[in-house]
Amino acid sequence: MTGDRTADITGVGVSPGVGAGPVRAMVARVPEPPAGQRLDGDAEAAKRAAAEAFEAVGADLDARAASAVERDRAEAAEVLSAQAMMARDPGLAEVTARKIDEGTGTARAVHEAFGTFRELIAGAGGYMAGRVADLDDIRDRVLAVLTGAPMPGVPNSDEPFILVARDLAPADTALIDPAKILAFVTAEGGPTSHSAILARTMGLPAVVAAPGALEIPDGTRVLVDGATGVVTVDPGEAAVQRAEQAANALAGALSAASGPGRTADGKPVPLLANIGGPGDVPGALSHGAEGVGLFRTEFLFLDAATAPTMEAQVETYRAVLSAFGNGRVVVRTLDAGADKPLAFLPAGEEPNPALGERALRMMRHHPDMLDTQLRALAEAARGTSAQLWVMAPMVADADDAAYFVEAARAAGLSEDVAKVGVMVEIPAAALRARDIAGEVDFFSIGTNDLAQYTFAADRQLGSLARFQDPWQPALLDLIHEAAEAANRAGKSCGVCGEAAADPALACVLVGLGVSGLSMSAPALPLVRAVLGAHTVSQCMKAADAARRGTSADTARELARSALPRLSALGL
């Protein structure tokens, strides 16, 4: 990337890869010919010009239909053939001719003729709404031929180009020839917009939500990076080459990195998914999750009028457990409280809900509810081969940990049924992890809450967002403390906060002694690739380097310099 020139545009990268070439903007609308426009010249010549414009558009649409057939796009071909029929419609020609005879200007007469049918069709409602859009598109094409205005829709060009648009509708994209398009850039849209999905399906680099993209003049050369979301205007050849090399390296690393997570020198690091319910399982599996590192069970409770029955819980837990074969599924028991209130268990008003009676603290007052959940988990584990791990949120000290382990064992989660552990998200628990390690089978560090409590900074407050940066050296120290304590006691220590989703930080976490990483599923492939490109000793050096930083930014920079493969992958 050439860096900070203000002309560059940053959006959201939604489909990785790079494309460089000239910009061609999609023309959305042809301006309406002014009302009251009068015919200037011979009516017969005007009628001929209109008829030729209808025919030219019909012929162009037929040609596009034929080319869609060649590309096996039957559905697109049918839409285009129907549009060609509309352009050649005798009714349109008739109404246009009559209006010209009445003295209306040619373009205006065409516009009004389309208006007549538009009203007729819009009046039919329902299914016909889509035909109105088709009709408007044909009208604009005919007007473009008549007036010499730029042709609307996806531009036709022999030279491959970067397609720039406000957003892309399905009707536009049905006509796209992927061989002619190097990348998409849209001013609007998000990661789940039609443009983004289409780009990923076609394997084209794409950047969405890039305001300013529409201001780039047609023909300008740009470099689009679909991973970083940066659109570089007028890039040098060297920048294009660097970007292409990095994209190739990244694509190679992503496709080569499959199977279980491991470092370049072969140390296994299980890569797991954070899920909120059985609905997230397919996404986790499709991104190659080896198991679940954080199964949040709140969804069973939060919207319910009454506490979920044991049977309902068993069914849900079993659905998740059976999806992962022999994999690990780490279930977090109910994390509710004043900030996440339950309809059937009113919590008192608290001045500081984040510091109040939530999660395990709340369950200690409602042991029956905790017992039901733990029994449901024990029951669900019967008959499935997954490794069940169960953990409590908001554990402050060894007493909390001992309470939870005792409750779990009493509920049937014996050592041969499940591992029992705790979340480390309170600084006290990290500082005295050695006391807790003796009580439990494992730790899982929740970096989001650990940051909130370490910096006394509400994670909901945007103005304090810098304290949520997981590269903060104080946070890294606490993670190190907890991981060391676990390792010394021969226990495992994972991370299940968003920190694990940052590929560079994932390496640092491994260097700090963390043994498993859990994150939102889409982050898994990149973390797998980057981890697989670095050795344990490189990760340890990066961890040491990061902890020498005095701020999140310096920690990040120092760690990056110890992770040589990052820049080669364009990260």
């Binding site: 053939s81 509309m86 005798p90 009714g91 049918f117 069709i121 299914y127 016909m128």
Partner: protein, 91 residues
């Protein structure tokens, strides 16, 4: 002048593909072809007019033309639910 009143049997009525096939078939005739629903008569060779009539499955329509062959062919198209594809044996 031939005229036939028929009940439309195609699932989508006279929309989408059946409408396109209907209009293409009508266009083959050298004579004028009319389509009437609820007393409104339109040019059967105009896809826009036919779509604008919004003919649904189960509705009664009347087809008229001096060309009896095309009237019969069009009536066959809208009543034959099995075959909504290409017009058969156009002249």
């Amino acid at each position: 002048m031939a005229e036939r009143q028929v009940k439309v049997a195609t699932d989508v009525g006279l929309h989408a593909r059946p409408a396109a096939v209907f209009v293409q078939t009508a266009a083959v005739s050298e004579n004028e072809v009319g389509l009437t629903k609820d007393g409104r008569r339109v040019n059967a060779k105009s896809i826009l007019a036919v779509l604008g009539l919004d003919v649904r499955n189960g509705e009664e329509i009347t087809i008229d033309s001096d060309d009896e062959t095309v009237v019969n062919r069009l009536a066959g198209l809208v009543t034959d639910t099995g075959e909504t594809g290409a017009p058969r044996n156009p002249r």
